[in-house]
Symmetry: C2
Subunit: 200 residues, 2 copies
Amino acid sequence: MVATQQKQTVPERSGKERILEAARTLFDSHGFHQSSMAELAVAAQVSVGQIYRLFKGKEDIIAAIVQADYDERCMHMDALRSRLDAGELTVEQTFEELLLHVVDEKDEALSFDILAESFRNRPVGDMIAAMCVQFRGYIRDFACAANPDLSGEALDGAEEIVLACLFGLGHRSLSRPSLSATDTARLSARMIVAALRAIC
Amino acid sequence: MVATQQKQTVPERSGKERILEAARTLFDSHGFHQSSMAELAVAAQVSVGQIYRLFKGKEDIIAAIVQADYDERCMHMDALRSRLDAGELTVEQTFEELLLHVVDEKDEALSFDILAESFRNRPVGDMIAAMCVQFRGYIRDFACAANPDLSGEALDGAEEIVLACLFGLGHRSLSRPSLSATDTARLSARMIVAALRAIC
């Protein structure tokens, strides 16, 4: 009866979003494995039954969080590529915008929980690997825009190190940096473009 | 009685090392929070009491693992700096050796557990931040060796992005890369030195 009432007042989609939002906060502060579905239900103000109607279990919630972040990143990279292609952004501005978007990720503890999980839970690992394939594609396009002569192993190496930079800058808060996010994005974009143009 | 016998056959130092080695394997495969002291005792073939005589608790074991990795990295970076200063290595070779040492870290799941913990457990976070201060110092020295004119915000930016590269390349296995570790180190070192020389 309670569940039916909740279903009427909380539409399916909004319930899903509310659970995911509460899950991000709860898992980030307490840890994915240390949080129970009952705690999540309290945090999201839904019943445990409602969570299980929308998600198979905690792994399914983690997959939904990873997917949402992935969709958001791809949309951003896609928009950047269109603006670069249209001549609205220089290649250095493209890298700067890209870096500004990734520098200083939110929910870092949760992010590391998910990355740990990706080594112990094959579907999560496969999902992250598939995301990286897409990211690599965008990076290659941006690298070739900086230096159209790039190819072969030089391009492979550029792809590898730029992907590593994005990941590292996203998690730089671990090292408690003093350089601001905007300065980091600007200076890093300059260095990446300089490196891409200096090799072939 | 059992504990006394074990203490006689396993010297203090070797017991500590055995516990740390078993902890790395157990925590990596099962998760730091999901592993109990009893499981660790079985894996290390010691008694739970012996673990508690050597470590205050699981957090203390994690701190010892972080410290051991840190000492090992600092020793390696220190040796590289000496060889660079002595003219035994070019600056590009120095970066290549440095990258070869960090590319494709072991025990990645454990590493991410520890990083997640650093946001929830202040002493672990402080320890990692202190390690990064040391790493930043070495990186600045190597960057200045590549380009003695680097200073001010250009040097700050270089420090930030090189640290990010080291971190990202250390964890690149997430993206299931096809480029080998040696090729990655060689190509990345070339790009880093090219970038450092192109800015000032």
